[in-house]
């Protein structure tokens, strides 16, 4: 017990000493000005938001938005030259890398919610996605009601699998839920027949279907388990100056006609690496979110 309390004291001491230092840490804008560098965190397979093309170069819808933000930061700081560094992040590394200053902007498909806002800030929403499932067309599964008694996969650690769990529990639907490691594996479960359906964000499902061997064999569910949830570009918390610049830059882009072109480029046209077309037209809610840029985490506000 003695050593325990000593440890508790040590923890307390560290947290007292560490807190003021954190608050005093230089803002992101100062850091960018000083180093002449802005670091963008990208994903490797978040199609079409942030992924690697055939030359292993990060590209994507969110990537393009971040490049626009970098340009705006350059103008704001009146720099002649701003080097944009692209660093790969994963779902497990994005928080530490944002927190310790390695990455300034995380551009991918990160859901903005209140729980996460305790750890990071989000700029204006760049996409809205709902929780749906993909199944083989010949299985005849079209709504969540049809999943009763079936084996269904969903990616572990996502809000999607939680919603599926709740849906299953409250209606006693007898769905066997298999958690999978990542989206590619979830789709593989459906492809190989291990699961009848894969429950995930609809845009990610569209990406998986477009990239599959025979895209015409698969269909997305007609109904969704959730209201559309916002994706946002993530930045460090408690840095209002930087957030203001980023918010202004994204708001300017989203409300301009360029956004329609940018959307069409990634959602309605062939995209690398294999020239597939997602064919996901701009929905009403998202069009509204672009017209009135918002960083709200509340699905009801869209």
């Amino acid at each position: 017990m003695k050593s325990m309390s000593r440890m508790a004291k040590a923890v307390l001491f560290v947290s007292f000493v560490a807190t003021p230092t954190m608050a005093l840490a230089a803002g992101t804008l100062d850091k960018i000005k000083e180093t002449g560098k802005i670091t963008i965190g990208h994903r490797e397979a978040s199609i079409p938001f942030s992924f690697l093309d055939q030359n292993q170069k990060p590209v994507g819808f969110a990537n393009d938005i971040c490049l626009t933000i970098a340009e705006a930061v350059k103008e704001h700081l009146k720099l002649d030259k701003l080097e944009v560094v692209l660093t790969p992040v994963t779902s497990a590394t994005r928080i530490p890398l944002i927190a310790n200053g390695t990455v300034d902007l995380e551009c991918g498909s990160t859901t903005n919610n209140l729980e996460r806002q305790k750890q990071a800030a989000f700029t204006n929403t760049h996409y809205l996605t709902a929780n749906r499932f993909v199944a083989k067309k010949d299985s005849g599964l079209t709504t969540f009601e049809d999943l009763a008694g079936k084996t269904v996969a969903s990616t572990s650690g996502t809000t999607n699998i939680v919603q599926l769990n709740n849906y299953n529990a409250e209606g006693k639907r007898g769905i066997t839920i298999i958690p999978v490691k990542d989206h590619a594996e979830g789709f593989l479960m459906v492809e190989t027949g291990r699961a009848a359906a894969f429950v995930m964000d609809d845009i990610l499902l569209s990406g998986l279907v477009a990239g599959s061997r025979s895209p015409s064999d698969y269909a997305l569910s007609e109904d969704a388990l959730s209201k559309p949830e916002p994706y946002g570009i993530m930045l460090r918390r408690d840095d209002p100056e930087f957030k203001a610049v980023v918010d202004a830059a994204t708001a300017k882009l989203y409300t301009s006609p360029d956004m329609q072109t940018l959307y069409a480029k990634w959602f309605l046209s062939p995209i690398p690496p294999r020239g597939l077309t997602l064919n996901v037209p701009l929905g009403e809610a998202l069009a509204k979110a672009f017209a009135n840029p918002s960083d709200s985490a509340d699905p009801d506000s869209y």
């Binding site: 530490p96 305790k118 709740n166 490691k181 190989t192």
Partner: protein, 243 residues
């Protein structure tokens, strides 16, 4: 570093509705323990058989044993689990394959078999080493006394050989526990998978992984102490191997 430490998050209800985040990690720890024990039983049984086979003096048995060890030892565990989980069911007759795919605890069975076989190759080399470490006179004396080959193994070679390899076997058991974390790749919700899920929900990355690490260390210390106890109980006074 601009990180919002929040150890209290462990007492917040987890979104899976089964309790707090701490409960979530504990449930993961249970899967880790069950998977490790089941895998270890397979590894011990098969490893012993293969290990003995390599010491019988039969050339064919030696070859078969070596082939077994090289097969399971030379392919990364991650690849083996993927082969067992995704490829093997496709090679089975369609109906049997579908039955396998629909098993409720498919990921668990696959992990137990996959990790068990992988570790059995490592146990086999230890068992062989343990038996080979004994003076050749032991075997000869046993046979000269009129014991059958099986009896020589049962009463002379194995009791001594296992005592020799108890310490390395402890390490292998600890490796088995740690290797269960690979099973998260086929969807087993063990400790590492739960820690990942927790950081995904809460963004409290460090709290989740530090706690998972502490739980692994605690579990492995318990196992080490247990094995030490067994080693002490098994010591035969005067036998070097018992040391």
């Amino acid at each position: 570093m601009n990180y919002n430490w929040n150890w209290g998050v462990f007492w917040a209800p987890s979104p899976d509705g089964a309790g707090t985040y701490f409960d979530m990690l504990l449930a993961g720890l249970q899967w880790t323990i069950v998977t490790a024990i089941c895998s270890w039983l397979i590894a011990l049984c098969l490893g012993t058989v293969v290990g003995i086979a390599r010491t019988t003096g039969s050339r064919w048995m030696l070859l078969a044993g070596n082939a077994y060890i090289e097969l399971f030892r030379n392919i990364p565990l991650l690849v083996q689990l993927f082969l067992w989980y995704f490829v093997v069911p496709e090679l089975l007759p369609v109906q049997l394959g579908n039955w396998v795919k629909q098993l409720t605890y498919g990921a668990f069975y696959t992990a137990v078999i996959g990790i068990g076989l992988y570790m059995s190759a490592r146990v086999a080399t230890q068992v062989t080493a343990g038996i080979s470490a004994l003076a050749s006179g032991q075997r000869m004396a046993g046979l000269a006394m009129g014991l059958t080959k099986a009896q020589v193994y049962r009463y002379v070679l194995l009791p001594q050989g296992f005592r020799v390899i108890l310490p390395p076997l402890t390490s292998e058991f600890l490796n088995t526990i740690k290797n269960t974390s690979v099973a998260l790749t086929i969807g087993l919700a063990e400790l590492t998978a739960r820690a990942r899920a927790m950081q995904e929900f809460t963004f409290q990355v460090f709290e989740a992984f530090i706690t998972a690490a502490a739980l692994y260390v605690a579990l492995n210390i318990v196992v080490t102490l247990l094995m030490r106890y067994i080693e002490r109980r098994m010591t035969v006074p005067g036998l070097v191997a018992g040391g």
